[in-house]
């Protein structure tokens, strides 16, 4: 019983993280056809900005969360303005954006290493304290992360489905040229998508650094797993991504608990290879015509 509960708890927690990270990736892919390999670095920006606000400016963590989110969003906009925007409409978009985001990601990682050093850092949680239920340690911060993630995922998907801007994003993701002809400001839409996705990565960074510590390389693994999630959910499908995030989180933690902790990642990557081989567009993948 306690093993089952443990698996479900940590599965939901991991699923929330993957969801926060993956939904940004999938929205960017949907709207811009851009695989953002700097996403892990935006997670880092959120975490380190939050850490600075708490430890250097000695402000409460409640203030640090929005500032961390804003910091990551600004970094995302910076990347968009400097490196992505000049590429829009040029041939070779795929490879150029791939390289430029990898480069930007490495530069941020190296910058963080230079500024903060290689030591592991921790941010205090919004709530401290925990309780034990059926021999499973449940922290209030963990529950908070789950709740925040669920709210964010729902509101992002609602925003994109219902709001006027969301309609613009969906239009752009279906056909950039047609959207432009209909008078949708492409540039603004791209910038909004970029800021939204970077902000979500930053939020994951701030919230999680109390549970899984912070170091200059800690953005990589969440990004890789978020990529696995987006793949399984189908790049560009929001519903698929949310389902896949929780499934992957649960699968990972069940394997960790029942098979052994070193099996979690290999099983995930193996699953991903099998799924991609059988369904090249992911489990919930939508064809070229309809994305988001």
């Amino acid at each position: 019983m306690s093993e089952l509960l443990q698996s479900v708890y940590s599965g939901l927690l991991h699923g929330s993280v993957y969801g926060l990270m993956a939904i940004g990736l999938t929205v960017i892919w949907g709207a811009m056809r851009l695989l953002n390999l700097a996403h892990g670095s935006l997670y880092l920006v959120g975490g380190y900005v939050g850490w600075t606000v708490v430890n250097k400016l000695s402000m409460p963590i409640g203030v640090a969360v929005p500032i961390g989110v804003a910091g990551a969003a600004i970094a995302g906009l910076l990347m968009y303005g400097l490196f992505i925007r000049p590429l829009v409409g040029r041939p070779g978009w795929d490879s150029a954006t791939l390289i430029t985001t990898v480069g930007f990601g490495i530069a941020i990682e190296a910058g963080v290493l230079l500024l903060y050093g290689p030591q592991v850092k921790a941010i205090p949680g919004l709530f401290s304290g925990s309780f034990v239920y059926e021999r499973v340690l449940i922290t209030y911060q963990g529950l908070l992360v789950m709740a925040v993630a669920a709210v964010c995922l729902l509101s992002v998907s609602t925003y994109i489905r219902v709001s006027r801007r969301g309609m613009a994003i969906r239009a752009v993701s279906q056909d950039v040229d047609a959207a432009k002809l209909m008078g949708i400001p492409i540039d603004t839409t791209f910038a909004i998508v970029m800021a939204l996705s970077a902000g979500l990565a930053g939020l994951a960074g701030v919230l999680l650094s109390s549970t899984f510590y912070l170091s200059p390389t800690s953005g990589f693994q969440p990004m890789i797993l978020a990529i696995v999630v987006t793949i399984l959910g189908g790049l560009g499908s929001i519903k698929g991504t949310i389902v896949a995030a929780y499934s992957i989180g649960l699968l990972e933690s069940f394997v960790n608990v029942y098979v052994g902790p070193s099996w979690g990642l290999p099983v995930l990557f193996g699953t991903m290879i099998v799924v991609l081989t059988l369904r090249p567009n992911g489990l919930f993948g939508v064809g070229e015509a309809r994305r988001l």
Partner: protein
């Protein structure tokens, strides 16, 4: 009623003399004169370096250059010329390295023998990685190959078969290539020659692919798959051949590195190495023939010589990342074409450049399209 048939002006001599524009034809001849000029220098260089103080280090850099230049050239063929964003090349490299290392260390093969198993094992690994990617496009290829890379790293570090993988340290004390009496006191020189031979062979074959109908087919598949297929390019065969071809030489380079260093460790699968190799291609010249060679030389110099030690060492990754990001945006063909154009202008002057353009231009310049 008669129809006036216009007199045809058919000149047999002229017809026989018809030749293709050398740049339009995919078959280009090597420039033997240039090669003949470079050859004595390449052959004499190690002897000179071996006798100069500090020359040993330069020899080491050159050997490393040969290894990585083979890898970047074949990766460039896959990544930039053919537009298959496979990040598994380094996994293939590792398979080659481990095969050679394991056979020499635990089976007891002579390194001169085990090194030849590396390219074939790498080619087999390329089929395993290549087959599932055949149905995928673009970003999905990046992800599935990254997954293979992570799986292999996980296997090498955590697997229960530690005698094969060597665990977290990798294979240590692998026998090095033995040159017998020839290498007595001149080990680095002999390694240099071995590397030079491998490099020359690999470069020749890659050059041949670049200027062949097959190379054209790769680029055509990259630029418009539907069109290329409808014009008779066998997509399946071309891509699989490409995967195996690139893996073969990558494996050869891996075997050489393993038997040169006497060790291979899982750190070779790290993201850092991958980024370095990517940077060599991007900075040198994405999709051009000379680009990866130039980029490999440039980055090895930058990293091992100019930024080694001192305060600058910390800024290595920062510089690398920013260079990648800026070059992809502002000089998508990399630095080599930019520098080559500058040199040509300096040597010939701007006005003569145009009339001689067709003959004197580097053959690959005509074909290399901007990043695509």
């Amino acid at each position: 009623m008669t129809i006036d048939v216009p007199e045809t002006t058919f000149d047999a001599d002229q017809a026989l003399d018809a030749r293709l524009d050398p740049r339009a034809s995919p078959w280009v001849r090597p420039r033997w004169l240039l090669l003949l000029a470079v050859l004595p220098i390449a052959l004499a260089l190690p002897l000179f370096l071996n006798s100069v103080a500090g020359g040993r280090f330069w020899l080491h850099l050159l050997i490393i250059f040969f290894v990585w230049a083979i890898v970047t050239q074949s990766w460039n063929l896959l990544l930039a010329v053919s537009g298959i964003y496979s990040f598994g090349q380094i996994a293939i490299f590792a398979v080659g390295g481990w095969t050679a290392g394991y056979l020499a260390l635990h089976v007891g093969l002579n390194p001169w023998l085990s090194i030849w198993f590396a390219p074939f094992a790498a080619a087999a690994a390329a089929v395993v990685i290549g087959l599932p990617t055949l149905r995928l496009r673009g970003a999905y290829v990046v992800l599935i190959t990254l997954a293979f890379l992570e799986l292999l790293r996980n296997f090498l570090v955590n697997s229960p078969y530690e005698t094969i993988t060597g665990g977290g340290y990798g294979l240590l004390y692998v026998p090095k290539l033995d040159f017998g009496l020839l290498g007595d006191g001149r080990k680095h020189v002999m390694f240099y020659y071995t590397g030079l031979i491998f490099f020359t062979i690999a470069t020749y074959f890659i050059w041949r692919i670049f200027h062949s109908p097959l190379g054209m087919a790769f680029t055509a598949l990259r630029d418009s798959e539907t069109y290329a297929v409808s014009r008779g390019v066998n997509q399946f065969r071309a891509r699989l051949f490409l995967f195996v071809f690139c893996a073969f030489f990558t494996g050869l380079a891996a075997g050489l590195l393993t038997h040169y260093q006497g060790a291979i460790s899982p750190s070779i699968l790290g993201f850092g190495v991958l980024i370095n190799l990517l940077a060599m291609i991007v900075i040198g010249g994405w999709g051009t023939f000379w680009g990866p060679i130039f980029g490999t030389a440039f980055l090895i110099l930058l990293q091992e010589k100019w930024l080694r030690g001192g305060e600058l060492e910390e800024y290595r990754k920062l510089v690398l990342g920013l260079m990648l990001a800026f070059i992809a945006v502002f000089a998508p063909r990399g630095l080599f074409p930019v520098i080559a154009a500058g040199v040509r202008r300096l040597v010939k002057g701007p006005e003569r450049e145009e009339e001689e353009g067709a003959e004197d231009e580097e053959p690959e310049e005509g074909r290399a399209t901007p990043i695509a």
